[in-house]
Subunit: 163 residues, 2 copies
Amino acid sequence: MKKQVNPKELDVLLRAAEVACAENGARLTQRRRQVLSELMQSSSPLSAYEVLDLCNRSTTSTMPPMSVYRILDFLEQQQLVHKLSSSSKYVACAHIACDHKHFQKTHFLLCDGCSSVEEVDATEEASEALEQMAKTVGFKLTTQQFELSGICTACQDSAGEGL
Amino acid sequence: MKKQVNPKELDVLLRAAEVACAENGARLTQRRRQVLSELMQSSSPLSAYEVLDLCNRSTTSTMPPMSVYRILDFLEQQQLVHKLSSSSKYVACAHIACDHKHFQKTHFLLCDGCSSVEEVDATEEASEALEQMAKTVGFKLTTQQFELSGICTACQDSAGEGL
DNA sequence: GCGTTAAAGATACAATATATCATATTACGA
DNA sequence: TCGTAATATGATATATTGTATCTTTAACGC
């Protein structure tokens, strides 16, 4: 579903993304901008083919699947987009317009109800506890990204409404 | 790769699986047994099609992909097999022959080096910390399974060898 | 044995992802 | 500004993963 993002805000986000790319010596081309824009306007993660359809619907030209995958990879490298490996879907980074850096581990909370996603930094406690747990079997953690399912506030509330 | 599982031990595991099925009013048929057996003998998670190939190589008859998926679903329901959603691969449960129950949340530690997997119960601290973290954005966690990457002891050691 | 149910086979196809070669666009120095 | 190298995209084919559906076979309860 489409998220309510006003055009002005969207523009701010896209400009910020452009700057971020420039800082890495990369370019946010029209196609990349288009892909990113679709993800920014979605209230839930999208599969590569969903992105493809949206792009092909919004312009006359048609893009092949390969291009979408390439562009998604690029956007992921630029940390403008994250790939959720549990569902093979993509979300726009929640921190494009702020000065947030991906220093800490990132957790994605996926709502079972409405498919929305919250991107949160790992707390010190969580990082610590997970590392300790891994240590008990000799593992040294490398994951930078965790995906957890749950029920978001809105869905918890609306579940109660029926009563 | 094949894990070193001696035939006797494998048999014990399969018998235990059979009993577990029976307790749920289900049957561990030949096919199901075959699929489970391949997973038990693998040192790393296998994709459905990898399981399929192994099964079709080890007998004269050939099984269609559909059957493997059905059987993997069945084995998952019986908690004899776990599906790793981050890689769409399957592993035999580490607790088939012991009286372990899946009460706590389960963490799978995936080694980046050798692809081996460790299945461990969540510590109280980790569960607590993750739930707290989710709570800060209003999420109520439902995930029962977590997948973390890292480097296992063996691979940490062998990385040092080259020096 | 006979009908009911559960399991497996067969076939087709949908969804996800990559390999590779060709073309277009951009950046940039001569 | 022109040529060239690097980057980005297009086009095509194909690999991989997963499902839908219908048929056949096997097991079980009576």
